[in-house]
Symmetry: D2
Subunit: 136 residues, 4 copies
């Protein structure tokens, strides 16, 4: 299997909750950053994708939380393409703590490609350059 | 099937993103509020649950996004108990737009009960009062 | 002085941090909600303001934090118009805890009116209906 | 004047709002990260400060927004010690866009040192090591 795209995250104080751990919704933010940095690494910065009239909108997210991330942790986000269709793409994720490489969470997130130029934002095929880059 | 617990949410400007819709991670926040208000309606305010030494931590979340919520929308969050075990509980959710009762999202969230009094926070049975109230 | 616009907020778990209090940036969110509900109460829902081509963007914010808000608290946000000019408006705020009416925070927030229809978003006079409603 | 502590931030998609810019409350998050990385660079990681029983809580924040940050921007946060007293410290900030070094925002944030070991969290002198490091 292809190597994942990897990036690092320092947990921010604002991301913790009163249980002393990262609030669970923030994992979706970390993973969002994973796929947009991944796209940028392929020469497809997401801000340019949107300016070109295409948007990627989340349709499904499945998350499995194994161990809590904490303030002071540095995290490793690993992002894979898990599935690719004409008008959607699914990413798979692992979130690890860098200090001890402990697996903290796993997820898959499915995104549909939509046409931002039309008000109702109908599904539309992935831009050809993106489809090709993600298929490699 | 038992009636769901329902509460209303006004979308906040801060919850939108540059695509002009509610950012997807915020749905987890809405659902969190759903279950804590549900618990409060059963006489089990979650702040008191924590002061009693029990915490509910998210283990799994599965979300299906159908239509985007927007700033200006008022939302209805419907919360059910979907499963109850000795040391965990699963909630099921529907998120609707009040204006037209359109279904925007569905989800299930599984939480484990942990012992906040011990550093490693091991799983522990749900407090008996909570287990009974949720089973009804 | 005119009576303030008042609205209530339940602190959300997601708004806390590991110090066990509401994270300080969230007070700006509460105050944002204060002014948009205030505008709505005057017949000027902010989503319609934007659809009409006008935006209100924050230019200055001054906050004074006195006592921490906590999860489980219900808060009262009091919003006043503190100053009104051709192309800007300043709101003044008090945030109180409902249980004991303790003053938690005070703030002023100055917003400029901008023309959303032009890319560089230049300053533009407040819509006449808004200027009149806020002046009363 | 002493050189500021500098760190870089990539704007996250989650930080934008429907006006297409970074939501104003997030600037407080960027600045919070500035002072905690600054402290870490001085050998005083903030998570260890808290474990030692001291907390820094925001008492005042004054922000001046000049130009909007956008998704796709890389930002430079510059952090200075602006004032130091027995039991409080004030940081001063500049936020610039890296591409063109345009000044986006300026701020000062005053924090009080509190004793986390006592329930009412009374003010307490800054730890001596922190006071010395910040005074240099």
């Amino acid at each position: 299997m292809r190597e994942p795209f990897e990036h690092r995250i320092r947990v921010r104080y604002s991301e913790t909750d009163q249980m002393g751990v990262v609030y669970h919704a923030n994992y979706l933010v970390y993973m969002d950053e994973g796929r947009t940095l991944f796209l940028a690494s392929l020469g497809l910065p997401y801000d340019e994708v949107e300016r070109g009239g295409h948007g990627l909108v989340v349709r499904k997210a499945n998350l499995r939380y194994r161990h809590a991330a904490r303030y002071g942790d540095e995290l490793l986000v690993r992002t894979w393409v898990d599935g690719l269709r004409a008008a959607s793409v699914t990413f798979r994720y692992e979130l690890l703590r860098l200090q001890d490489h402990r697996l903290l969470a796993q997820a898959t997130v499915e995104l549909a490609c939509v046409d931002l130029r039309r008000d109702e934002r109908p599904p539309t095929p992935l831009p050809e350059a993106m489809r090709r880059a993600l298929a490699d």
